[in-house]
């Protein structure tokens, strides 16, 4: 029997939910609004909420000072590239751990996850030196590599959890039917794991898109993605809030749109296996 919920209680819960939702969304909304203000209005106290002189001047300024599309393309290449490369490595690894585990598999999984617990700055100097000495500094391929490595544990963990849900007998059937390991993965495992792979792909594109520590430290001009584009508007000489906001809005817009259209897939991915 469904629970009886009074109208009053519904109203209260709805109000609380909206308040929390708006609180979480507010910084993004504020950034969006600020991007249409002049620099003076942006730092005015008390701040104007909606009634100010709307201007798109910041966007033109930002575009003319630093080429948005160059950074955008860098972000696309780095985030998609690192995610695809990560999947190529992670699918066979997760296969091995899910379907041919040894007694050390759990330890390996924990060890991989533990690398995510270390503060990245701890290895900044050696990483920087390796990048400098191998000529990878400020290259897209260098960023693709480093983002692949830092997100690989998460990709493997997510795929491992999905693969665990696939009955091993189906893969054994494929083996009996004459499929080699590669064909078993391509024709049977991957198509069955498509929903899981899709949500892993989306989540990792978002993580890679937003990653700022390594992209800021290992790129300068040529390979700099949108994180560097935003950061360039926060300088020691002072903050240009309106331009910073315009840059931020432009940087997060693509990933917000991607997230909006794929939210069903993402939610499924994040709660996969919770209820069965």
């Amino acid at each position: 029997m469904a629970r009886n919920v009074s109208t009053q209680r519904k109203l209260v819960t709805t109000a609380i939910a909206w308040t929390i939702g708006i609180l979480i969304f507010f910084p993004i909304l504020w950034t969006f609004l600020t991007s249409f203000k002049t620099e003076a209005q942006a730092i005015a106290s008390p701040p104007a909420f909606l009634f100010f002189d709307w201007t798109t001047e910041n966007y033109f300024e930002v575009q003319s000072r630093s080429d948005y599309f160059k950074h955008f393309m860098n972000s696309v290449v780095v985030s998609f590239g690192s995610t695809l490369l990560g999947l190529l490595i992670a699918i066979p690894s997760a296969w091995a751990m899910a379907f041919a585990p040894t007694k050390r598999t759990k330890d390996v999984l924990m060890w991989m996850l533990s690398t995510k617990m270390m503060p990245p700055v701890g290895v900044l100097v050696p990483m920087y030196l390796i990048f400098r000495n191998t000529g990878l500094l400020d290259t897209r391929s260098g960023l693709v590599m480093v983002l692949t490595l830092i997100n690989l544990p998460i990709i493997i963990w997510m795929l491992y959890t999905y693969f665990k849900e696939i009955p091993g007998e189906i893969l054994e059937a494929a083996r009996m039917d004459g499929a080699s390991l590669a064909k078993e993965i391509i024709y049977v495992l991957t198509p069955m794991a498509i929903p899981g792979i899709a949500s892993t792909l989306l989540l990792n594109i978002i993580l890679a898109w937003n990653e700022a520590f390594w992209t800021l430290n290992l790129s300068a001009a040529k390979a700099a993605p949108l994180t560097a584009f935003i950061a360039s508007y926060s300088s020691p000489e002072g903050l240009f809030y309106a331009k910073l906001s315009a840059a931020s809005t432009m940087a997060i817009a693509p990933i917000l749109i991607l997230g909006w259209f794929s939210q069903k897939q993402l939610v499924r991915g994040l709660t996969f296996g919770a209820v069965k």
């Binding site: 007998e169 189906i170 059937a173 083996r175 039917d177 004459g178």
Partner: protein, 333 residues
């Protein structure tokens, strides 16, 4: 030709020997059933033959060639799994065609073989459906279709009917038997259900704790069980066992008598007792009789025999059908 020979095959998981050591010959074209209680190692043995598990020791010879180290696909065997293990993202057609596609067959050859298999298995109308749109019996037929298109040396069935309801199980049992007569290919069938074993097998292998207790034809096992385990496992309802002074009178440690070999009478006989439960099946009645001197006995009598709970009856074993066992549980002949 699909003869399979196991030589000293053993399987050890950690410190636990699931299969200590097994020798077995399976002739070409035979329908062999591995039967035993759960955990007896019958599925493991099948998986060793399939190549899905590696043997710890010994050799598996298929069709005269040593296949011990061969991967599953190279052994020329097809397997039908308990869960059907169909590829959920592929249509019935693609499922059946999959082994042929893996073998690199021509599209025209694949189409023809799939159509033939579908006709044999009454699946022609379902070729474009996905497995989830089929009933349990149809799914099982698809799994069988996928197994037969390759024309393997032998078929391996791992409890293929245990997910089906009782009526369907009887039908599929018949269909698999008919398929065997049609194809005349070696079949190895694993089940815990002794009725399936008795009705389908040319040869039954009774397994217990990883060891072969007896190998023989269904009637062989029924009439001449080698030991107490086989005597108790084969036959339904179970054989009655009596030990003590009654057995000593027959120069045995234990005597066994099947329920159908006890003669029931209301006024005279060897053992007297009270009817506890009477199960009326119509054609037969199973009586659980609390015999005064020896405990509960099960008897199978004609459905016409009017008897109910609490009646006093006499039971007499047919002396020709009495089984005798020594203190180790081995048959005395």
């Amino acid at each position: 030709m699909g003869s399979i020979t196991l030589k000293n095959v053993s399987k050890v998981f950690g410190a636990h020997a699931v299969i200590p050591s097994i020798d077995l010959d399976i002739n070409d074209g035979e329908f062999v059933v591995f039967v035993g209680p759960s955990g007896c190692g019958k599925s493991t043995l099948l998986r060793l033959i399939a190549g899905l598990e590696d043997v710890s020791d010994g050799a598996i010879v298929i069709d005269g060639k040593n296949a011990t180290e061969l991967p599953p696909a190279k052994r020329g065997l097809s397997m039908v799994f308990q869960s059907y293990a169909l590829y959920p993202h592929m249509s019935v057609r693609a499922n059946i065609a999959f082994p042929l596609k893996m073998a690199g067959e021509d599209k025209a050859v694949i189409d023809k073989k799939v159509a033939d298999a579908a006709r044999v298995l009454n699946l022609t109308d379902y070729l474009d459906r996905k497995p989830r749109q089929l009933s349990g019996g149809q799914r099982q037929r698809v799994a069988i279709g996928r197994a037969i298109v390759r024309q393997p040396e032998a078929f391996l069935f791992d409890e293929p009917l245990s997910n089906l309801d009782a009526a369907l199980r009887v039908n599929m049992r018949l269909e698999i038997s008919q398929l065997h007569q049609q194809l005349k290919t070696t079949m190895i069938y694993v089940t815990h259900d002794q009725v399936e074993a008795m009705t389908m097998a040319d040869k039954i292998v009774v397994l217990n704790r990883g060891r072969i207790e007896q190998v023989g034809s269904p009637l062989d096992l029924y009439h001449r069980p080698d030991n107490l385990f086989v005597a108790g496992f084969i036959g339904s309802p179970k054989m009655n066992f009596i030990s003590g002074s009654q057995a000593a009178g027959h120069q045995a440690h234990t005597i066994g008598i099947r329920p159908e070999h006890l003669v029931l009478s209301k006024d005279h006989g060897t053992w007297q007792g009270t009817v506890g439960v009477a199960e009326h099946l119509g054609s037969d009645t199973f009586l659980h009789v609390n015999a005064d001197a020896i405990g509960t006995l099960t008897a199978r009598v004609s459905g016409d025999f009017a008897v109910t709970h609490g009646d006093r009856v006499f039971l007499t074993p047919d002396p020709q059908r009495l089984h005798k066992f020594d203190e180790k549980g081995l048959a005395i002949r």
